[in-house]
Assembly symmetry: C2
Homo-oligomer: 249 residues x 2
C-alpha cells in the first residue's frame, strides 16, 4: 500500500539548516503552480502567497519570528496569506459591500485555502529533494509582519514556509500512535492519557536523549509545560486579526 509519493510523505522531517543555494526561478514557478491547483473553499481562492527576496523585508520577518534562521539568506522564504481583500476589491468594483468578509466563517475559508496550499507546496518541494520548515513563529509578532509586507485590510499572514537545499539530516520525531490520534465515528473515551501515552513518552524521551544526550523530555511533560508559553502562544493574534478587519463576528 505504498508508492513513491507516500514513501516521501512518511519520511517527512523538518529541515532548519539550508545550503547557500537559492531555489531557481523554475523551481519557484513549479511550487507556486502546485499551490494554485490546490482545492479551494467555495471556489473563492482566498489566498495569496508572497515570496520574500528583499533582505530587509526578510530581516523584519526574522525579527518578528524570534528565530535566527528565519532572517538571514539561506533557504527561500514564503508567506501564505489569508486574503479576503482581493475579493472585497472585486466586489467594490461592482458596487457590492463586503461586510460578510469580516466574519469568522469567511476567515476560516481563507485559512483553509492558505494552509491546504502550503501543505501541497511542502509535498511538492520534498518530491524535488528540497527541505521545508513551517514558520508558525511569524505569529509571535503578527503586527510587525503585517507592516513589513504592507498588507491591506482583510489579509493575514497565517503561516511562513522556508524551503531550500538541506544542510542537515535530522532524525524523524516520533508521532502520537494512531490508536490515540484516530478513532471511528465518535470521539474516543480514554480513561488515562498518562497510561495510554506511557510507551509513546518513552519513545519521545529516547529521541531527545539520542539528539542532545542531556535533555530528558517526554510528550506529556512538554504538553504540561509549553502550552501558552512564549512566542505565538501569547501574541496579540486576535487583536491583529481585528485590526485587519477579520473575525469581527
Amino acid at each position: 500500500m505504498t508508492n513513491e509519493t507516500i514513501a516521501l510523505q512518511l519520511a517527512h522531517r523538518t529541515i532548519r539548516a539550508y545550503k547557500d543555494q537559492p531555489l531557481t526561478e523554475a523551481e519557484v514557478a513549479t511550487l507556486m503552480d502546485v499551490a494554485r491547483h490546490t482545492a479551494t473553499s467555495s471556489y473563492l481562492q482566498s489566498c495569496t502567497i508572497l515570496h520574500i527576496t528583499d533582505p530587509q523585508v526578510r530581516e523584519a520577518i526574522g525579527a518578528a519570528s524570534g528565530q535566527p534562521y528565519v532572517g538571514g539568506t539561506k533557504g527561500d522564504l514564503f508567506i501564505f496569506l489569508v486574503d479576503l481583500y482581493r475579493n472585497s476589491r472585486i466586489r467594490a468594483e461592482q458596487g457590492i459591500s463586503s461586510e460578510a468578509l469580516s466574519s469568522m466563517n469567511l476567515f476560516l475559508t481563507g485559512a483553509e485555502d492558505a494552509l491546504l496550499a502550503a501543505q501541497n507546496v511542502v509535498v511538492a518541494a520534498e518530491s524535488m529533494g528540497l527541505g521545508t520548515v513551517y514558520l508558525g513563529s511569524i505569529l509571535a509578532d503578527p503586527r510587525s509582519v503585517v507592516q513589513a509586507l504592507k498588507l491591506p485590510e482583510l489579509t493575514f499572514p497565517i503561516v511562513g514556509l522556508l524551503m531550500g537545499h538541506p544542510d542537515q539530516e535530522p532524525g524523524q520525531k516520533p508521532r502520537l500512535p494512531l490508536s490515540v490520534m484516530t478513532a471511528t465515528n465518535t470521539y474516543p473515551h480514554v480513561e488515562s492519557y498518562t497510561e495510554a501515552l506511557a510507551d509513546y513518552d518513552r519513545e519521545v524521551s529516547e529521541y531527545y536523549d539520542l539528539r542532545s544526550g542531556s535533555r530528558l523530555e517526554s510528550f506529556t511533560h512538554l504538553v504540561g509545560t509549553s502550552i501558552g508559553v512564549g512566542g505565538a502562544h501569547v501574541s496579540p493574534i486576535a487583536q491583529v486579526l481585528h485590526e485587519q478587519g477579520l473575525c469581527l463576528r
Copy 2:
C-alpha cells in the same frame, strides 16, 4: 521541473461521485499514517481524525452539510478535528490548568495541524488513484456535527473529507493566474481587478459553458454574488466555537 508527485498535484480535481467500493483497511491505515507524519505546530499534535462508518452518524453529518452525497454510502467519510481536548486532559492529569487552550492562538495551531494533515492525506489518496472532496459544508451546521460525533469541549470539526474510487471524470476548474495569486515581498498593487481578471473571467465562463451549456458564470460575478450567502457562510460558527470553549480570547 516535474515528477510523478507534482504531475499528480497539478492534475487535481474534485470528485463528488464514487463507486460502491469502500476503502480497504490497509488503505485507511496508510492514509492515517500519512496524516500522522504531517508537520505539527509546536509539536502539540492538536488534531484528531474520525472515520465515519456508522450509517446513522453519516446521515446526521450529511443532513448538517446539506449536500446529498455527504450522507449515503458511497466513498469513505473522515472528519478532521481541531483537538485541544486531549492536551487539556494530559495537563489535567498533571494538575495543570488549560486556560491557555481557549485562546485564538491555540485554536489556530490546531486548525493548522488539522488542515495540513488533511491536505497530506488528499495527496496520498490521489497517488493511490482515489478521488477526494473537501467538505467545508459540514460547517453549515457545526452544532449538529458536534452532537453526532459526541465531541468534548476544546474540539471542533474543522473540515470533512470524502474519499473513494471515482465514478466521474470532471474537467479541471480554472484557477486564478499566478500573476494575481502570488507576488514578491509586499502585497501587490492592482489598479483594477475587473481588468486584471478579464481573461480569467472568460476562461471560467467557457468552463461553465462547456459543462452545463447554459449557466454563464464568471469568477468576478461569483465573488460578487456568492460570498456570505447560505450554508457555512452564514452558520453560527463563532458561537459554536465559543460553546466548545475555543477562541474565547
